[in-house]
């Protein structure tokens, strides 16, 4: 297998795919659904917010390893952040994964592994789907998000 494939499917991504963190329904909070209609990926993001701070974030759904790992990493990284901080993080992750492959990779801790998707333009939307859905859940927008 080629080096860029190994970078994309590195151990951390495969681990989050196989054992996604916070993979459960969270009742009584905010939620939103996201779809990649052409792929068939579907994700629901749940969050509980207390005084502007995300106290818990979870997800459900089905999709490829990139979408699942991205969602799993996301739920870990936004917990404890304010809604404004989380919103900024969504934009930073979006830049992280959609910048040209040669652009510098911002240090976003564990999330930086997602930068490997830059080499796979067709898969960027898999990585961004949970994040756009998180934004919709934060705004509690009553709509299905799509990154197609």
């Amino acid at each position: 297998l080629t080096a860029d494939v190994q970078a994309l499917y590195q151990a951390a991504i495969l681990d989050h795919n196989k054992q996604p963190r916070n993979f459960r329904v969270l009742a009584g909070g905010r939620s939103a659904e996201g779809d990649n209609p052409l792929c068939g990926d579907h994700v629901t993001v749940y969050m509980r917010v207390d005084e502007g701070i995300i106290t818990e974030a979870t997800f459900q759904g089905f999709g490829c390893a990139i979408a699942r790992a991205s969602a799993s990493l996301m739920t870990e990284s936004v917990t404890g952040k304010t809604l404004i901080e989380a919103d900024e993080l969504v934009e930073r992750v979006h830049r992280l994964v959609s910048s040209p492959p040669e652009a510098p990779v911002e240090d976003l801790g564990a999330l930086s592994t997602l930068a490997a998707v830059r080499q796979f333009p067709l898969r960027i939307k898999c990585a961004t789907l949970p994040w756009r859905t998180l934004q919709a859940a934060a705004a509690a927008r009553d709509e299905v998000v799509s990154t197609e």
Binding site: L1, T2, D4, V5, Q6, L8, Y9, L14, N17, K18, L38, C39, G40, D41, H42, F62, G63, C64, A65, I66, F120, L122, R123, C126
Partner: protein, 409 residues
Amino acid sequence: MSSVPLDATSIRQDFPILRRQVHGRPLVYLDNASTTHKPQVVIDRLTRFYAEENANVHRGLHRLSELATDAYEAARAAVARFLNAPESREIVFVRGTTEAINLVADSFGRSRVGAGDAVVISAMEHHSNLVPWQRLCEEKGARLRIIPVSDAGELDLDACATLLDDRTRIVAVVHVSNALGTINSIADIVRLAHGRGIPVLVDGAQAAAHMPVDVQALGCDFYAFSGHKMLGPTGVGALYARASLLEAMPPYQSGGDMISSVTFERTLYRTLPHRFEAGTPHIAGAVALGAAIGYLDAIGLDRIACAEHDLLEYATGVLSDTPGVRVIGAARWKAGILSFVLDGVHPHDIATMLDREGIAIRAGHHCCQPLMHRLGLAATARASLALYNTREEIDALGAALHHVREMFR
């Protein structure tokens, strides 16, 4: 029947794209159900038309228009022969299968289907043979009824018989399933439908380059296919329609080339098939489609069908022997399409990893969401064959799937 087996290695020489590399590896192209590659004769015919014959058809009184019209009408005659249609005027050139079905749903459907009537399709239809009928039924207050599919991926013809009644206005079914490879027993469905005087449309997109198609033997009333899935250019396809039905159908699109006289008070339409070809058609595309038919005929569709069946059996064996792989679709009669899933690995991840090995497959719901739902799957990976594929390519697929599984363990 030609008995000389097909030599894929020499056939490959006719397809320039098969000489290129992808990600530094030789291209292994197993996405033929999406589109097939084009032999040099088709590419050359497209070029020669623009270089030597280009003009509009059916209107110019000059030499080039005569040449273009002759070439275009010769292509129509080639399509008629290819499908064993009784007459050339029963062939309408369209953009592809999707437009052909939309033409029938719009013209035949809107004039024949009313409130309380029914349209019968199957549970394995591509969205292109589902959504046009669904829209028609919504508009008319008609019912869309579905022939069920078994776990193996075969249509339930007993159920089909009970679905048909005196309110059924048309049956629309796929010849070869793009998601499962099932070859449906069209002649049996036609027999059931015609027994009640119901016409049958067949979506032939996945059959045309892979087996002989004889619309008279099938008995169907409409047959739709796309040029680009049978070695021809994109943007052109054809609809076969029984003349007696086509005569009675109102125009589909309207404008130039489909009229015989126009005043502000009324318009008289041209004869078949021109009435259904408004505007300037994809002339070069149709002409090159004629060349693709010539290429397929010279090899022989019976030989192609045999070779692809052999390769299908080989590939089914390779995939079944690959740990963790489950082949989806076990119909008794199958064309060269293999849907499969790999334990614990999403089909998109399989497709991305194979791509980096130079292997092109499709992953997803294959525009058959109701079928995927019926089978309890969100998506599958799909390898689809054509006359130029080899056992070595199937071995490469099998080996790459081993690597994918190892990585995801």
